[in-house]
Symmetry: C2
Subunit: 155 residues, 2 copies
Amino acid sequence: MSVLTQSKEDYLEAILVISLEKKWVRVSDLADYLGVKMSSVATGIRFLAENGLVNHEKYGYIELTREGIRVAKQVYARHKTLYKFLHDFLGLSEPVAWRDACRMEHVLDAKTMKRLLKFLEFIETCPEGEPLWLSNFHSFLKTGKRPEPCLRREK
Amino acid sequence: MSVLTQSKEDYLEAILVISLEKKWVRVSDLADYLGVKMSSVATGIRFLAENGLVNHEKYGYIELTREGIRVAKQVYARHKTLYKFLHDFLGLSEPVAWRDACRMEHVLDAKTMKRLLKFLEFIETCPEGEPLWLSNFHSFLKTGKRPEPCLRREK
DNA sequence: TTATAATGTTAGCGTTGTCTAACATTGTTC
DNA sequence: GAACAATGTTAGACAACGCTAACATTATAA
């Protein structure tokens, strides 16, 4: 499949996300969701339709094709991973984390995405739940101080 | 000052970086460094000159103005912070980390940059040097296994 | 059912930023 | 200093992607 631009990936992801809630996705939904005009959506969707990523009849609903779903899910997965890192780990607010995740999702190397995922996995699979150093970091963010001296290996 | 595009920020940063080594910066240096043609550099530089960010006489050397230096240093600082996170912390290779940092540096919210900086500070100011959990993470990256059970608070 | 509102499409424009090709200047070498 | 190489500039094309304005279709409500 031809390489998609950032904008096209955004359209695909938006269709997926909207369709998680709305059953039918229309041009106006996408325009609202992405903050662009309907005419811009129309242009973008035409391209995606011509390239077999969406089905769309004039004045009708928009639907992802099998291939479109595949791509959209990839993009959405990257978005969620980045969001988790920015929001759950770095503690950024929901809107900032969501927007930055959206901007990062198109530019990062696959290796970087994988590595971030590894990092989140490292935290989440900690045998004792949230690791102490992470609590310490979050409290460091709030107070500017370390709540405890750094941890040492258990004796 | 007018808001600069990603491309313009890249030109400014590149001038700064090159001038750290070369004393004189020329159009060809920038073209090599950024992987674009000289004609593209010429266009970009003209804009920057018109907006008081660089000095450049036809067929001459390129120099940042005071304002240009200010902006370039900001961009470079973001780049270095991101690089440190991607390379030193996540353990990504130098080229991947450098390139992704370059892509991220233009899109992240100031809050996100600050927060990343905080995180790096949290690690670097650990009283005992590199925290054990970080070593554990790096070894987790290599082996896929945790070298130790998670740390507990000292008794 | 007809007027109006909402929605969707198309054409055409502006911006950004790259490129190629042609031309201009400067540097180098004999 | 003449010829050639290296470097720099300009003009013009193209791609992406947003926009406005005008028009087309569909939905809604009187």
